[in-house]
Amino acid sequence: MPSETEAMLAAAAGDLLDGEGGVARARARRDAGGGLDRAVWSRMAAMGWFSLLLPEAHGGLGLAPSDAVDFAQEIGARIAPEPVVAAIAAQPLLAACGTPAADTLLARAAGGAAVICAAPAERTDDGPGSAFQGLAFAPADVDVALAFDPPNRRLLALDPAEARTAATVDGGTLAFLADGPDAVLVAEGASAQAAFLAACDVQRLLYAAELCGLMARALDMTLDYMRLRRQFGQPIGAFQALQHRAATHFVDVRATRALVREAGRAFGTQKQSGAAAAAKAAAGAAALRVLKDCIQLHGAIGFADEHDIGLYLRRAMVLAASAGTPRTCRAVFGTARAAELDAPLPRHAVRAAGPDASQAG
């Protein structure tokens, strides 16, 4: 049951995004071939969105990641195309670094002037013949991406505009971040690594929440369609085979949301990384499962671009791939769980500072 703060935040997010045009913005950006709407970004910044988790001492709201779960669901429900979650994770990361370089970046990020995102480790070890040794993927339209170089334990600030890119199915662009001459060293060592891994955890939790919001709304759209669309003289929602599939998706959506909320409660404990990965694994897989069948339940119109349901599927693919695919996240969770099972009671001590090796690769 969400607290008042959570509910207020979520309502404000919904209001702002609906006021800006709702789902139509996702379509418009796709049609325009990507690019960030800086005016919208500034309004989001002015509402304090990106400093939700920044400690109050640094001028932020000092909220816990779990306070932002409902907020992120509202973003997902409207498939807002901005990298909000990555920006939210960046500010506490920079604050934790405490280096002059980090402070400078934090100042640039604070007012929304610069779009600064944490880019979770997705190092691709390409093997022989590879032209690329990447650190991470980031949205291409941000100003600064923060990526971590595990072997050297260095947190780097990189300019995605300098990177190789590829379009994504939601109309966005992905930059493949690599170390290079333009990289700026932000911080290094174990504490930088711990702060970066915590930022990854935040992203996994909030992307999971975004996916929950997305699939819940997609299912609602599908149920609306099933109540209206008629075939064989009846609404298609009257057909039991479709009813039972819709019920299965309802179970998926509800259960995933409960898991994501529960994972939020693990933040600040030893279980944080495992819980965040569990939430992201479950939400990514459930969203793909549900969305594929939402298309099918819509029939031909679901396959047409003019209906929004296809935008939801494409956004789900992007979010499911962000900050760890379902498989990657299951592996992180599985490793964390196995370690827990080997540990003696009490299982639930407050989390010790320090990096979680399972996530560094």
Binding site: G237, A238, H244, A247, A255, A258, R265, A266
Partner: protein
């Protein structure tokens, strides 16, 4: 459970764990089936003496008024320790129902023996012609003075041949809507005119039975609620039941099988094991969420059908993974210890077929969700 525990909760867990390590009799540990009541009643009574037999009962009725978190701690530790599955019809079903619909006399008479483990209850709903469609039931009771006289035939009665009492739905009127004219009745199974026949299930256990009623006389004081108003009473029971049907009790037991088989896994199965852990963690979160809402006064209503589907299909999915892990021994009925882990899941796999059939089949639950929660209109017939 992913959330951190309070100091009190952690202490409770340690307490439970220590108790279970000492108190579970060896011959009841790690069973993969529901042992017959006569075997596990000593364990039931041990839990009862410790005050942990009725976690979700309010203190006023002798329960422990456990929070949802404490309930999950109990279930996690019981699964981990290999505690046997106890008869739950009294604790989970008729007990809570009597708290809401029973007369003070009914409560005073029936609740204490349930807590003490002195009386075993069974549920008399299903009939040969009325399975998922309970409104079609035909076991009838006619009024005769201060008594109802019952004739008919119940089936699929779990532990019916070991139970002392049955709570049953019987038809007291055949006028009007098939859901009207049904009465909720408490039947003493030692009454004359009752014949019981055990039914073997596909796992080869006599877990359920048929019960035949021939002019069985039941005092009117054993009606719960009013005569002809049993459908309402039973439906409320079904809704409450579903919350406990959604507890991760079986799923955690299944997961324990997976964990014990994990040393047999090759690299290709690591993802499947993580899937099992994730599925049970998801169910646990869903149960906590629903139980907390219920505790806060929300009506579980039809929506809680989702928990029953989730809990039962999670258990089955986890046992499919256990089957993969067991490899060529997946069909062994005897427990087999080849290396370190004990391969012992085929009976649980077979028993788990029941989960999606009983307690309102999952097909019925999906139809309830679709019609009452999702607003999908049923076909005109």
């Amino acid at each position: 459970m992913l959330r951190p525990e309070t100091d009190a909760e952690a202490a409770f867990r340690a307490d439970v764990r220590a108790f279970l390590a000492a108190a579970i009799p060896d011959h009841l540990r790690d069973l993969t089936f529901r042992a017959p009541p006569q075997d596990c009643m000593p364990w039931y009574r041990a839990l009862s003496r410790r005050g942990w037999i009725a976690p979700h009962w309010p203190k006023a009725f002798g329960g422990m008024a456990a929070s949802p978190v404490e309930q999950v701690i109990l279930l996690e530790e019981m699964a981990h320790a290999g505690a046997p599955d106890i008869p739950t019809q009294g604790i989970n079903h008729i007990g809570p129902l009597l708290m809401h619909f029973g007369s003070p006399a009914q409560q005073a008479r029936h609740l204490p023996p349930i807590l003490a483990g002195d009386v075993i209850w069974c549920q008399g709903y299903s009939e040969p012609g009325a399975g998922s469609d309970l409104s079609a039931l035909r076991t009838a009771a006619r009024r005769d003075g201060d008594e109802l006289v019952v004739n008919g035939h119940k089936i699929w009665t779990t532990w019916g041949h070991h139970a002392h009492w049955m709570f049953a739905l019987v038809r007291t009127s055949s006028a009007g809507n098939p859901r009207a004219g049904i009465t909720f009745l408490l039947i003493d199974l030692s009454s004359p005119g009752i014949t019981r026949r055990p039914i073997r299930n596909i796992a080869n256990d006599d877990e359920f039975c048929e019960v035949f009623f021939d002019e069985v006389r039941v005092p009117l004081e054993n009606v719960v609620g009013a005569v002809d108003d049993g459908w309402r009473v039973a439906t409320a029971l079904l809704d409450r039941e579903r919350i406990q049907l959604g507890a991760p009790a079986q799923a955690l037991r299944a997961l324990e099988r997976v964990r014990r088989l994990a040393p047999l896994a090759d690299a290709g199965l690591a993802d499947r094991i993580a899937e099992a852990e994730l599925a049970v963690e998801t169910l646990t979160a869903a149960f906590l969420d629903a139980a907390e809402r219920f505790a806060a006064g929300e009506d579980p209503g039809a929506e809680s059908s989702y928990l029953k589907i989730l809990a039962t299909e999670t258990t089955q999915a986890v046992l499919d993974i256990a089957q993969d892990l067991a490899g060529p021994l997946m069909a062994a009925r005897d427990p087999v210890r080849l290396g370190a882990p004990l391969v012992d899941m085929s009976e649980m796999f077979l028993q788990a077929r029941r989960l999606s059939i009983y307690g309102g089949s999952n097909e019925i639950q999906r139809s309830i969700l679709a019609e009452r929660v999702l607003g999908l209109k049923r076909e005109a017939r």
